[in-house]
């Protein structure tokens, strides 16, 4: 499956239980109350669906949604 910004946001929304509209690019995981287990779940699905493996140490509670999307997009095969 091809990676896209929309697809990544869809996975974050699904795994965190948040409305996709709430995922503002500048919002941090902490602000959105997305905990470490939700992040791990999101990374698991991203890897499963798109074959993109992300090092969880590159993310922290202050990472924004935009940081996350950029990181996945950078690692995705072009």
């Amino acid at each position: 499956m091809t990676v896209s910004k929309e697809a990544i946001l869809g996975v974050i929304a699904e795994e965190s239980g948040l409305d996709p509209a709430a995922l503002r690019p500048d919002a941090t995981f902490e602000q959105l109350d997305i905990g470490s287990l939700d992040v791990a779940s999101t990374l698991f699905i991203i890897e499963d669906k798109f074959g993109v493996e992300v090092d969880p140490d590159k993310l922290d509670p202050h990472s924004t949604i935009a940081d996350f999307v950029d990181l996945v997009m950078r690692l995705a095969p072009s």
Binding site: S16, G17, D33, L37, A40, F44
Partner: protein, 420 residues
């Protein structure tokens, strides 16, 4: 300190329906939930097939009922992934607490306990994880696998949704788990450790892995569940949850609660004999202990809700124990076996049968034993059979005796009573 423990709310989920009202409608009409369950084997995995009877929960209806009960879906967010084990417990638990009029009540903070009986953990979640590992050779499983599947998850999830901070845990004693949960919750209230207890059981074992393991035991029927009947072939698996709100009588009266009955007695014993075969002495010990605890003589006519699995071994041993204890007074009592309707809910079954039994007392109607083909020579009991009409059998009892005898020889008997 010993306080009277009353019942103020019931909730249940099973193949019969979502909620006590739906459940009772089916039972009163003499309808059961056991249906053929077929799953064709996918290509390359000929062993992955299921073909046999089961009583399954309508998962979609259950989730909708839960979301409606919670009100705001966001309140479920912190719970993470929900295995059906928790889905069932939450749906039944919220129904019971709502019925008791305790949603948002200040008592639900530190003076409330939650005790849930479970036979096994979240089988569906574990099946999914193991399928990735063993069948697809994938090294990673979903990070929520452990929190979603751990056997204590239903208790944690209920505490989170209800804001309960008192003693909260799961009790596991196979098919007697939720009888032990109700009984131990009763003792917590009697002793003053809690004013309110949300107690019951949950199970969600209808998965390929669990089904295959149960089939291997050799106790499953290939047609249906026929307790105490001739030509019975065994048990039928079900799934679901049942939850009861227990309170000290003082607490219930002080808040003007509608008192539905009393959990008057609890007797428990261990056979210490065999992992699967029942033991008459152990069963009798538990039943006698429950009567003694309740201060209700065995001569008092009662609705006796049997463990009644429909297996070759359980039924005659239970029938003999009941005969030995109640003797001639049994003829004035009524004996039911509702696994013929909802299947065997394993860790949830005792709570389900207790809720059904109390509802039957209140309505003066016993759900008939279904699928009965005639008396078995080794199971002589005055069963409530729907011979004249398909519906419930009229009764006039004030006392319920609810039996649960688990694999591993763990027995628990509850005695309920209508309010005086």
């Amino acid at each position: 300190m010993s306080r009277k423990v009353v019942l103020t709310g019931f909730g249940c989920v099973s193949g019969l329906g979502i909620g006590l009202a739906q459940t009772w409608r089916k039972l009163a009409a003499g309808e059961g939930a056991i249906r053929p369950w077929r799953r064709e084997a996918p290509e390359g995995h000929p062993a992955w097939r299921i073909d046999g009877p089961a009583a399954r929960v309508d998962a979609e209806a259950c989730r909708m009922a839960l979301e409606q009960a919670v009100g705001d879906k966001d309140d479920l967010r912190p719970l993470g992934q929900l295995d059906p084990l928790s889905l069932h417990a939450l749906t039944a638990g919220l129904e019971a607490v709502e019925a008791a009029g305790l949603r948002g009540h200040p008592s639900l903070a530190r003076r409330t306990a939650i005790l849930i009986g479970c036979g096994s953990g979240g089988n569906a979640t574990m099946d999914q994880a193991y399928e990735r590992l063993y069948a697809r050779d994938l090294a990673k499983v979903h990070p929520q696998t452990i929190p979603a599947s751990m056997i204590s998850a239903p208790a944690s999830h209920l505490a989170m949704v209800l804001g309960v901070h008192g003693p909260t845990f799961v009790i596991a004693s196979a098919c007697a788990s939720s009888a032990h949960a109700l009984g131990e919750a009763m003792h917590m209230i009697r002793s003053g450790r809690a004013d309110v207890a949300i107690a019951g059981g949950s199970e969600a074992c209808l998965t390929l892995g669990s089904w295959t393991a149960w089939s291997a035991v050799g106790v499953m029927a290939d047609d249906t569940c026929r307790p105490f009947s001739k030509d019975r072939k065994g048990m039928v698996l079900g799934e679901g949850a049942a939850v009861v709100v227990l309170e000290s009588e003082d607490h219930a009266q002080a808040r003007g609660a509608n008192i539905l009955g009393e959990l008057a007695g609890y007797g428990t014993s261990s056979d210490a004999a065999d992992m699967t075969a029942p033991d008459r002495e152990g069963i009798e010990t538990a039943i006698r202990a429950a009567h003694e605890d309740a201060g209700i003589a065995s001569e008092v006519p009662a609705l006796i809700s049997t463990h009644g699995t429909g297996t070759r071994l359980n039924d005659p041993v239970e029938a003999a124990a009941i005969r030995a204890i109640y003797g001639r007074s049994l003829e004035a009592s009524t004996v039911i076996a509702t696994k013929s309707a909802h299947g065997h809910l394993i860790g949830a079954t005792a709570a389900m049968e207790f809720v059904i039994g109390m509802e039957a007392l209140a309505r003066g109607a016993a759900p008939p034993v279904l699928n009965h083909l005639g008396a078995a020579p080794d199971c002589d009991l005055p069963l409530a059979l729907a011979e004249a009409s398909p519906g419930a059998v009229p009764i006039d009892h004030r006392v319920l005796v609810s039996n649960s005898f688990a694999f591993g020889g763990l027995n628990a008997v509850l005695i309920g009573r209508l309010p005086s």
